[in-house]
Amino acid sequence: MTLEKKRILIAKPGLDGHDVGAKVIALALRDAGAEVIYTGLRRSPEQIVRIAVDEDVDMLGLSILSGSHKELAASVIERLRIEDAADIKVFVGGTIPEEDFETLRAAGVRGIYTSEMTIESVIAEIDSQLS
C-alpha cells in the first residue's frame, strides 16, 4: 500500500466523452491504496484547478483523447502556478503522439501515460513520482 493516504485527482478536460481509460486508472490507483477523486466529464482547466486545490491533491491526472493535450495541459499547469499550487504534479494520459512528449515535458508535465503502457507500469511510475 505504497500510495496510502496519497490524494490523486483524475480529471477529464475537453470535449471527448470517453472515460473508460480514466476509470481504469482510477480503480488501479485505488487498489494501490490511493484516495482518488474523480471529476466526471468535460471540465474546464479553471474547474479542474479549483478542484485540485480544494481537494489538496498530490497529483493531478488529465485524461485526454481529443487531441488538444498540449493546450489543456499548459493551461492547467499555468493556472496551478497562479494559484500557488505548482507543487501539484501533473500527468497526462490518453492518446498522445510521441512527437508531443517533448513539448508536454517542457510545459511541466511530469508523466505521460499512453495506452501502450501496462497499468502496472503506470502505477509504478506514479508511485515513484510521489515517494
Binding site: E35, I37, Q47, R50, V53, D54, E83
Partner: protein
C-alpha cells in the same frame, strides 16, 4: 452575497490535510481549545445511491442564494476499500451545478476504514472548518444501512433520505436511522412509488413518535428543495429555542472524546503489536499502560 473576502482555498485545504493525517497529539495541538463560533451543521444520510449528493447539489444552490449565507463547506464521505485502504471519491460528480460558486468549499473524504458512515476524524475536520469561519457545513455520510446513526451526534439538523425504491415502507421503518431524523426526504420524486413512500412514512412516524417529523419529496432538478431549505431553517430555529448550547456542547464533547480515544487505541496497537499477546487481561493491561505512557 456580501463583499466578504474570497476563501483562501489553498490554506484551508492544506490545513484539512494536515489534521486528517496527524496523530492524536498533533490534532489536539492544532485545534486545541480554540474558542470558535460553531457553524450550523446539516447532515445528509441514507442508503448508497439514494440521491444524497444530487440533493446537496440542489440544496446548496438554495442555501448560498443571494442574500443568504456567505460561505458554506461541504464534506462528502465515500467508503474506503477494505482490501487496499484506497478509495474512489465520486460524490463531486453529482455536484456540477455548485462547483463554481465562490462561497462554496467542497472536500471529498475517504471513510478510512470507519464503519459508522463517517471517518474517524470527522469531528476534528468539522472543528477545523469552524476555525476557518464557515457559516454553515453540510456533511454527506457514506451510503449507509439501517444502523449507522453516529452522524446524529455531530450535526445540528439531520436529514435522512429515502429513495422510492428502498423496498416497502415497513422495511424502511425498521431502520434506526429514521428515528434520529429531524427531516425525512423521499428523493427521486419523479419515480413511481415516491408519493406512496412519503405518505406511508409520514402517517406511521408521526402517529407513533408523537413528535412531528416533516416528510418531504425532492428531485435532483431542484423540485421540492425550497421546501427542504425552509424545513431546515425551521428546525434550526426550533433547536435554538429548545436545546441549550450546553447540551449540544456536552454531547459533542463526549463523541469527540470517544473518537480521539478510538484513534489513540488504534495508534497504540499499530505501534506496539506485542500488546495483543498473552491473555486478554494481560493484553488489556498492556494497552492501558501504553496509553498512559
Amino acid at each position: 452575497m456580501s463583499d466578504a473576502p474570497p476563501l483562501d482555498r489553498r490554506r484551508i485545504s492544506r490545513a484539512l490535510t494536515r489534521v486528517a493525517n496527524a496523530p492524536v497529539a498533533e490534532v489536539l495541538a492544532a485545534i486545541g481549545d480554540s474558542k470558535v463560533q460553531p457553524a450550523f451543521r446539516i447532515g445528509i444520510t441514507g442508503p448508497p445511491g439514494g440521491g444524497k449528493s444530487s440533493l446537496i447539489n440542489a440544496l446548496v444552490q438554495e442555501r448560498l442564494s443571494p442574500g443568504t449565507l456567505d460561505t458554506l463547506a461541504v464534506l462528502a464521505i465515500d467508503p474506503s476499500s477494505p482490501v487496499s485502504g484506497g478509495a474512489i471519491l465520486g460524490d463531486r460528480i453529482r455536484m456540477d451545478a455548485i462547483a463554481d460558486l465562490p462561497g462554496l468549499y467542497l472536500r471529498s473524504l475517504s471513510s478510512r476504514g470507519a464503519r459508522n458512515g463517517l471517518c474517524d476524524n470527522v469531528v476534528d475536520l468539522l472543528t477545523l472548518l469552524e476555525v476557518q469561519g464557515f457559516d454553515e457545513i453540510i456533511l454527506e455520510t457514506v451510503g449507509v444501512g439501517q444502523s449507522e446513526v453516529a452522524v446524529h451526534e455531530v450535526v445540528d439538523t439531520l436529514v435522512v433520505i429515502v429513495p422510492p425504491d428502498a423496498g416497502d415502507s415497513v422495511q424502511t421503518m425498521k431502520s434506526g436511522i429514521l428515528e434520529m431524523a429531524d427531516i425525512i426526504v423521499v428523493t427521486k420524486a419523479d419515480m413511481p412509488g415516491a408519493r406512496r413512500m412519503a405518505s406511508d412514512l409520514s402517517a406511521v412516524l408521526n402517529e407513533r413518535s408523537g413528535r412531528s417529523v416533516p416528510v418531504l419529496q425532492t428531485q435532483a432538478d431542484g423540485r421540492g428543495v425550497a421546501d427542504l431549505d425552509r424545513a431546515i431553517d425551521a428546525h434550526r430555529n426550533s433547536i435554538v429555542e429548545n436545546r441549550t448550547e450546553e447540551t449540544t456542547r456536552e454531547s459533542r464533547r463526549r463523541y469527540h472524546l470517544r473518537a480521539l480515544a478510538d484513534r489513540q487505541v488504534e495508534e497504540a496497537l499499530r505501534a506496539n503489536p506485542e500488546i495483543t499477546e498473552g491473555t486478554l487481561k494481560a493484553s488489556y493491561d498492556r494497552l492501558l499502560a501504553t496509553l498512559r505512557a
